[in-house]
C-alpha cells in the first residue's frame, strides 16, 4: 500500500554499456548493482529506480554514454485538481506522519517577473558603448552613503563615510553554512570570492579555521542560534550579517540534525558532536526595530565600528515597511531573499507557499526607501532565484546595489538540482558531510568554475550596460526607465514601477 512508483526511470543502452561498473561506484544511493553469473561469469547490471533521485551523476560519469534518466510516466487517473504530486505527498504523510521536508528553492509554477521584464538598448541618440573598447565600471561599494560633505572648522573635508564593502562586480555568493554544504564547497566559494574581489557568506554555522585567511572576502553571519559566534569570528569577516529570515523558509528557523554534527562541524559551530543545532524561528531578543538596533550596535561595538552590518530578511508581504524599519535600525545593508531562494532543508509547505517574488519585494522596498528619503542610508542586496546576468541587470535596474547568488553557484560546482540536499547524500560532494562523497568535489576545479561563471556574467553585464549606453553600474541602479514589462497587468507594472513594452 505504501508503494509509490518511482518518478524517474533509468534507461541503460545495452549496446553501449560495457558493464564497467562505474555507475555502481558513482551512485551514492545504491541504484545500480553489478552481479556476475556464477556459472558463466557473465556480468549483469541492474537498476533500482525507486532509490534514484535523478542527480545525473551516473549519466555524466558513464564513459560509454549508455545511461539516461527519463520520467517514468506511470500516471494516476488524470485530475487537474488532485495532481499526482499532491496525492503522493498525502500517501507519504499518511505513512510517516511527519512534516514534509524538501530542499532547494520553490519549484512551483508561480509567475517569474524577471521573465516578464525586458531591457532597453540605445539606438541613434545616446549611442551604445562598446565594452571591448571603452572602460565599463562594475565596481560597487556597499554600505550607507553620507548625505552631505562635512568640513571641519578649518575647511578640511571630514571623512564621514561609514564602513563599506568594496566589490569588483555587483554579485556575491549567498549564505550557505558549513554543515549544509561541505567544507570543500566553502573553500571553493571563499577562493573564488578572493580571486574575484567579491564576498562569499559563511552562513550561520561559524567559520572553519582553515578559511579565516579569506576573511577579507567573507561575510560572517549571526543567526538566532548564534552558532560559532565569538569576537574573533566577528572581527575576521569584512561584514557581519544578522540573519532574520531566509527566502526558502520565511518565519521558521533551522534544525541541523545531530547526525550531521561531526568533529569538524562541532568545532566551527562550537557545540558538542552529535548534538542537534537548533536555530529558533525568531531571535528571542528581537521583538521590535529597537531590539534589532540593539543587536546591530552590540555587533558594531564588538568590532569597533569597523564593519558594515547587514540585516537579511525574507521577502514577505510587508517587506517595504520592514525594510524601512531596518534602515532606521542602524544597519548599513539590507539583504532581501525572495521565495525562489534555495535551502539545504525546509518544510515543503513553507518553501512552496510562503513569501513573495524578489522582483516585487525589491521594487517596493526601493520605492519606499526613496519616498522616505532614506535610500542612501543603506545598500540593498537581493537574492533568491538569480539565474543569469540578465536577472542581475534587471534586479539592479529595479533598485538593487548588488545580488546574492546561491543556487547558480552550486550549479557551477556540479549540482544538478535533484533537490535532495536534506538526505545528506549529495552525489556531487556539495551538500554532504560524507568524507567519501566530499572528496568528489575538487577544490581547484570548483573554485575555477565559480570564477569562470562570475567573469562570464560580468562580461554579459558590461555588454548589456554598453547596449543601454551606460558605462557604470551605479548609473543603472534604480534606473527603471531601462525596463519594460511584457504581459503584466496595471497593478504589477505599478508595483514594479515600470512601463509596459511599447509605452
Amino acid at each position: 500500500m505504501n508503494f509509490i512508483y518511482p518518478e524517474y526511470e533509468l534507461v541503460r543502452n545495452a549496446e553501449r554499456c560495457t558493464k564497467c561498473g562505474i555507475c555502481v561506484k558513482q551512485c551514492p544511493n545504491g541504484v545500480h548493482t553489478l552481479t556476475a553469473d556464477t556459472a558463466s561469469g557473465a556480468k549483469n547490471l541492474a537498476a533500482d529506480d525507486s532509490k534514484c533521485v535523478n542527480c545525473q551523476r551516473c549519466v555524466v560519469y558513464c564513459p560509454a554514454r549508455a545511461l539516461k534518466i527519463v520520467k517514468s510516466g506511470n500516471t494516476y487517473r488524470e485530475n487537474t485538481y488532485w495532481i499526482q504530486k499532491t496525492v503522493n505527498e498525502i500517501y507519504l504523510q499518511a505513512e510517516h506522519g511527519g512534516v514534509l521536508l524538501s530542499s532547494m528553492g520553490n519549484p512551483e509554477p508561480y509567475p517569474v517577473y524577471f521573465d516578464k521584464i525586458l531591457v532597453n538598448a540605445s539606438q541613434v541618440t545616446n549611442p551604445p558603448i562598446d565594452p571591448l573598447r571603452e572602460p565599463m565600471e562594475t565596481k560597487v561599494f556597499l554600505g550607507g552613503k553620507p548625505k552631505a560633505v562635512e568640513r571641519d572648522a578649518s575647511g578640511q573635508i571630514v571623512n564621514n563615510t561609514k564602513p563599506q564593502i568594496e566589490l569588483s562586480m555587483p554579485m556575491m555568493f549567498s549564505a550557505m553554512s558549513y554543515g549544509s554544504i561541505s567544507l570543500t564547497a566553502h573553500e571553493c566559494l571563499a577562493r573564488a570570492a578572493a580571486e574575484l574581489g567579491v564576498m562569499y557568506n559563511a552562513g550561520e554555522g561559524g567559520l572553519h579555521e582553515s578559511l579565516y585567511k579569506y576573511g577579507r572576502n567573507t561575510i560572517v553571519q549571526v543567526a538566532s542560534g548564534r552558532f560559532g559566534v565569538h569576537p574573533d569570528y566577528l572581527n575576521c569577516g569584512a561584514a557581519i550579517e544578522i540573519k532574520m529570515g531566509q527566502g526558502a523558509k520565511p518565519g521558521i528557523g533551522g534544525h541541523l540534525p545531530g547526525s550531521k554534527i561531526g568533529a569538524d562541524i562541532s568545532r566551527t559551530r562550537m557545540i558538542p558532536e552529535g548534538s542537534d543545532a537548533i536555530s529558533p524561528a525568531p531571535h528571542h531578543d528581537i521583538y521590535s526595530i529597537e531590539d534589532l538596533r540593539q543587536l546591530v550596535f552590540s555587533l558594531k561595538e564588538a568590532t569597533d565600528y569597523q564593519k558594515p552590518v547587514i540585516v537579511k530578511i525574507a521577502a514577505v508581504h510587508n517587506v517595504a515597511a520592514i525594510a524601512s524599519g531596518i534602515a532606521r535600525s542602524g544597519a548599513d545593508i539590507i539583504a532581501i531573499d525572495g521565495f525562489r531562494g534555495g535551502t539545504g532543508a525546509a518544510p515543503t509547505r513553507i518553501r512552496d507557499h510562503v513569501g513573495i517574488p524578489i522582483e516585487l519585494a525589491l521594487a517596493s522596498v526601493d520605492q519606499r526607501l526613496r519616498e522616505e528619503g532614506i535610500r542612501d542610508d543603506v545598500s540593498l542586496v537581493v537574492g533568491g532565484g538569480i539565474r543569469s546576468s540578465a536577472d542581475v541587470v534587471k534586479a539592479i535596474a529595479l533598485g538593487a546595489d548588488c545580488v546574492y547568488i546561491g543556487t547558480a553557484a552550486l550549479l557551477a560546482l556540479g549540482c544538478h538540482l535533484c533537490r535532495s540536499c536534506h538526505t545528506g547524500r549529495c552525489a556531487w560532494g556539495i551538500a554532504t558531510q560524507d568524507p567519501e562523497l566530499v572528496k568528489r568535489l575538487n577544490p581547484n576545479t570548483g573554485y575555477k568554475r565559480l570564477v569562470n561563471l562570475m567573469h562570464a556574467w560580468q562580461h554579459e553585464i558590461q555588454e548589456m550596460m554598453g547596449g543601454m549606453g551606460i558605462n557604470a553600474i551605479e548609473s543603472l541602479r534604480g534606473n527603471r526607465l531601462m525596463l519594460r514589462g511584457i504581459g503584466l497587468n496595471t497593478k504589477e507594472l505599478e508595483i514594479l514601477g515600470i512601463k509596459h513594452a511599447g509605452e
Binding site: 511527519g98 521536508l101 559566534v229 569576537p231 558538542p272 548534538s275 542537534d276 550596535f297 552590540s298
Partner: protein, 238 residues
C-alpha cells in the same frame, strides 16, 4: 582608571573604556549600552545602572556591577565573568557559550535561553532570586542555578526549559514544581547531584556575603532534557 559616565553616550563611554589601560571603574552609569562588548581582558567595575547588552560577546574580561543590570547581559558570552549586585533584566546570558554570570537578585524572562557548551567551555548562570518565564528555553548545554532566596512561591515562571536538549537547571525551592514541558525531566537533586553546584554556591556566597554551604543543604530540583533530539521525529523526507 575612573570614568564618570553621567554625560557620555554609549559610544563615547565604550571608546573611553577601550582606550583605558588597566582596570576601569565607571561611576554614575545611567543606562549606557554595550559596555565591555567583546572584551577579552579588562576588569570593569560599574556603579549605577549599565544599559542593555552589558558584556555581550564577552571573551575573558570581568565585569562587576554595583546596581541593577538591564536586558541581554552576557549575550553570546564566550568567556569571563559578570557579577551583578542587583537584579538583571530579560535575556540574561542569551546563547552563552562560556564564562560565569552571578546575579544577587532576580532575573527577567528568557534567562539562559539557548545556552550551549563546547569542549571545556561550560557556561554557568547563578541567580540569587527568581526568574520570569522561559528560563533555559532551547538550552543546549551549561548550567543554570536559581536559588529563590527570599521568594515564597516557585521561583521560576512558565515554560521553563521548553525545547531543552542539553545542560541542566537547578532550582532551590520547597514548593512543588509543576507545569513543566514534555522536553524536561525533573527530579529532586540528590547530595551527589548537588556536588556540581557546591563550588558555585560557595563562590556566590563569597561574592554576596552569604553562607553558600548552607544554601546547598536545601531542597533543589534538577531539570535535565528528556532527549537530546527533541525534533528528530518531526520530518518526512519528500
Amino acid at each position: 582608571m575612573r570614568i564618570t559616565a553621567e554625560n557620555l553616550d554609549s559610544i563615547q563611554l565604550n571608546r573611553r573604556i577601550r582606550n583605558a589601560s588597566g582596570a576601569v571603574l565607571i561611576d554614575r552609569c545611567f543606562g549606557q549600552r554595550y559596555i565591555g562588548s567583546g572584551f577579552k581582558d579588562k576588569k570593569i567595575t560599574i556603579y549605577g545602572t549599565p544599559g542593555n547588552a552589558l558584556g555581550s560577546y564577552l571573551d575573558g574580561a570581568s565585569i562587576i556591577v554595583y546596581g541593577n543590570g538591564q536586558d541581554m547581559i552576557g549575550d553570546t558570552m564566550n568567556g569571563g565573568e559578570i557579577i551583578i549586585h542587583g537584579n538583571a533584566g530579560d535575556g540574561l546570558g542569551y546563547a552563552m557559550r562560556g564564562g560565569r554570570i552571578f546575579v544577587r537578585g532576580s532575573a527577567g524572562c528568557r534567562a539562559g535561553i539557548h545556552m550551549k557548551q563546547y569542549q571545556d567551555q561550560k557556561p554557568v548562570i547563578v541567580i540569587g532570586g527568581g526568574t520570569g518565564s522561559f528560563l533555559g528555553e532551547y538550552m543546549a548545554g551549561g548550567m543554570i542555578v536559581v536559588l529563590g532566596i527570599g521568594i515564597e512561591a516557585v521561583p521560576v515562571g512558565d515554560f521553563t526549559g521548553t525545547g531543552m536538549h542539553g545542560g541542566c537547571i537547578y532550582i532551590r525551592t520547597s514548593r512543588e514544581l509543576t507545569n513543566l514541558p514534555d522536553q524536561v525531566r525533573a527530579e529532586i537533586a540528590s547530595w551527589e547531584d548537588k556536588q556540581a553546584i557546591l563550588p558555585l554556591l560557595s563562590r556566590f556566597g563569597e561574592y554576596f556575603g552569604l553562607d553558600g554551604r548552607k544554601l546547598a543543604e536545601d531542597r533543589y530540583y534538577l531539570l535535565r532534557p528528556n532527549t537530546d533530539r527533541p525534533y528528530a521525529q518531526l520530518y518526512t523526507k519528500n
